[in-house]
């Protein structure tokens, strides 16, 4: 007996020769924002469509609150989906789009109107009631699509690339609104996205998918700090990945010829990750015998921080420095010689 809200058990789906989902197992808890992250074609949308009921899995089961919903048609499932293109009904105005789902249930007119008004207020859609859905802005359309789902008071809301159609300014603002809304309503959200930043900032937990498989499930911090393999490390943020040499009880980062001390590598990991923001660099005025230095090959100023590409022994890695931490007279430029430093505890070891 499990207590998970939504359980996806051994779900497999093929389209012809293509294996879209390969024995996917996932547990999603009540009231969390869970995101499925992966590049296009990884199977995340197929999984969402299977949860919604538009596709039937070839194998496996979907349990919602312990009930098997695998074979329920979409119109009976107590969940709703918001489409990437919103799929608003172009022949109906805003109110009738929102009412559409309620009219399919046996609610009184009074109840329908109350619910619609409630949701119009919640999503600040007042004044747009009679407008055609193609007469309102993209952001407003997104909120109508959301309202159309939420007015049904679903147990679970699926969102397919909910922010992809919005421009960047609006996207960030909407991200916060979405999280606030979820906190207020307590509805479980499953978000499909290819945007790793969006996924990190929105979700309580996330799953990284590739080639129809789930590679790793965890909260954003775990995924970012402790990726299971090189693919995940590179997919989420920028990653500096080095090889580890275990030699006579010495642990050495091969590329940098750097010995890691005070750390046990008793599992014989062969790779390590050091995130760019954990590598500090400092301009060297005079050549010393310090062995940890490199040449700056690229500088990209990004406002709050600067990206530096450092070359050591022919290999390159990134260092991100907060601009507030670099004083003006120590500005680092192209081809400068720099000393780099990182804390041994910020190295994450893994096998790949």
């Amino acid at each position: 007996m499990s207590n998970s809200f939504l359980e996806i058990i051994d779900v497999t789906k093929r389209f012809g020769d293509i294996l879209a989902l390969d024995r996917v197992n996932l547990k999603i808890e009540k009231s969390e924002i869970f995101s499925l992250l992966g590049s296009s074609g990884c199977g995340k949308s197929t999984l969402l469509r299977i949860i919604a009921g538009f596709e039937k899995p070839d194998q496996g089961k979907i349990l919602l609150e312990g009930n098997d919903i695998t074979n329920l048609p979409p119109y009976i499932r107590p969940l709703n989906i918001m489409f990437q293109n919103y799929a608003l009904f172009p022949h109906l105005n805003v109110t009738n789009n929102i009412k559409f789902g309620l009219k399919e249930e046996s609610f009184s007119k009074q109840e329908i109107n109350n619910r619609v008004n409630e949701i119009l207020n919640l999503l600040e859609l007042n004044g747009l009631e009679e407008r055609k859905v193609n007469e309102i802005s993209g952001g407003q359309q997104q909120r109508v699509a959301l309202a159309r789902c939420l007015v049904k008071k679903p147990k679970l809301l699926l969102l397919d690339e909910p922010l992809a159609a919005l421009d960047k300014q609006l996207r960030i603002q909407t991200q916060f609104e979405l999280v606030n809304l979820q906190n207020k309503l307590g509805i479980t959200f499953i978000i499909v996205t290819h945007d790793q930043e969006e996924s990190i900032s929105l979700s309580d937990r996330m799953a990284i998918m590739q080639n129809g498989e789930i590679l790793q499930v965890g909260n954003p911090v775990e995924i970012y700090e402790k990726p299971k393999n090189t693919y995940i490390a590179n997919f989420i943020g920028t990653a500096n990945i080095f090889h580890i040499l275990n030699k006579d009880s010495q642990i050495i980062i091969e590329e940098l010829n750097y010995e890691i001390k005070n750390i046990n590598n008793n599992k014989n990991f062969n790779k390590c990750l050091i995130r760019p923001e954990k590598i500090n660099i400092k301009k060297i005025e005079n050549q010393s015998d310090n062995s940890n230095f490199g040449i700056v090959k690229e500088v990209a100023y990004l406002g709050s921080y600067t990206k530096y590409l450092i070359e050591v022994n022919g290999i390159q890695f990134y260092s991100f420095m907060q601009n507030s931490l670099v004083s003006d007279n120590l500005q680092i430029k192209w081809d400068d010689k720099v000393e780099f430093k990182f804390n041994d505890s910020s190295i994450f070891f893994f096998n790949d």
Binding site: Y75, F83, A87, G101, K152
Partner: protein, 313 residues
């Protein structure tokens, strides 16, 4: 009440026209109108002229409407042709027969054509092209030949009867030809592509996510069809129905070839009046009445429809 927000053709064209007029591309716009006047309105006016002329023996078989002689200018006009056709229930009945044939076959074309159009529109692009070509291939053969082929198929010694006898369902050939069912069959067969193609045009633009969305919001397949798919394909339904209904009212070849004496159709009556009775004025009066009775409701409908869309846009 189903609400529509799709562009009406009329509306789009008038918009285009205004733009072109502003650009002073007068001839570009008026060439089709010139064509319409030359080959449609002038012949129509001639038919109207004949319809109010007095019938007589001779060539042409009617008296000149205007004559100039020693006695002066004389107009020799009559409404008797119209009075005649409206006083004889024979003509009215044939017109009603044609309307009912047009109505029945439009409905049948819609019922058969809609699923086909939907299927073609929703099939994969490479298969879709093949299906569309298959729809158009019959047009490469003469319409007359295709209707004649039905005659061969349906006749007493035809394939259908032979197979049925061979399989033992019947012992004697059934008479399938020369009745109004054969006419309906021929008409539906001939006009089906005219229903499918405009329907396809609207359905191919239809976003399949809308079906999923309706399902997801709790609408069962029937409601999804009635509340989403149908209203959004209504312009296609109207266009296809017009393309079937209007020409079928005047259809005379199919009733001539497949029909019998059980029902007489308007188009065939006009033909007979022209070429058998050689009563051109009565035939013209029939044609004019038919057009007027059919055109006015359609024009009013189109205007209301355009106005409705305009309001909803």
């Amino acid at each position: 009440m189903i609400k529509l927000n799709l562009n009406s053709m009329t509306h789009q064209y008038s918009f285009l026209m205004i733009r072109y007029l502003k650009k002073q591309n007068f001839w570009f716009v008026f060439t089709p109108y010139f064509w319409l006047v030359l080959f449609f309105f002038i012949p129509l006016a001639l038919i109207f002229k004949i319809s109010i002329s007095v019938s007589e023996w001779g060539m042409p078989p009617y008296r000149d409407l205007f004559s100039l002689s020693e006695e002066g200018f004389k107009i020799d006009s009559t409404l008797s042709n119209y009075l005649f056709i409206f006083s004889d229930p024979f003509y009215i009945r044939s017109y009603l027969n044609s309307l009912s044939l047009a109505f029945t076959s439009t409905i049948l074309c819609l019922i058969i054509g809609y699923p086909i159009a939907f299927y073609v529109a929703k099939s994969q692009a490479n298969i879709r092209i093949i299906l569309l070509v298959l729809l158009i291939i019959p047009f490469w053969t003469s319409f007359l030949l295709r209707v004649y082929a039905w005659k061969v198929l349906l006749q007493g010694s035809g394939i259908i009867n032979s197979i049925l006898i061979h399989l033992g369902f019947i012992t004697e050939p059934i008479s399938m030809l020369h009745n109004h069912y054969a006419v309906i069959l021929g008409v539906v067969y001939t006009y089906l592509p005219f229903m499918i193609l405009p329907l396809y045009g609207y359905l191919v633009k239809f976003d399949l996510n809308l079906i999923d969305a309706a399902n997801d919001l709790g609408a069962k397949p029937v409601n999804t069809f009635l509340k989403v798919i149908l209203p959004l394909s209504l312009p296609g339904i109207i266009a296809g129905s017009m393309l079937v209904f209007i020409p079928v009212v005047g259809e005379f070849v199919i009733p001539e070839m497949l029909g019998g004496s059980d029902k007489l159709y308007f188009g065939k009556i006009i033909w007979d009046e022209f070429f058998v009775n050689r009563d051109w004025p009565v035939a013209s009066a029939l044609a004019m009445s038919g057009i007027v009775i059919l055109v006015f409701p359609i024009v009013i409908f189109q205007l209301m429809y355009a106005k409705y869309n305009f309001k909803n846009e």
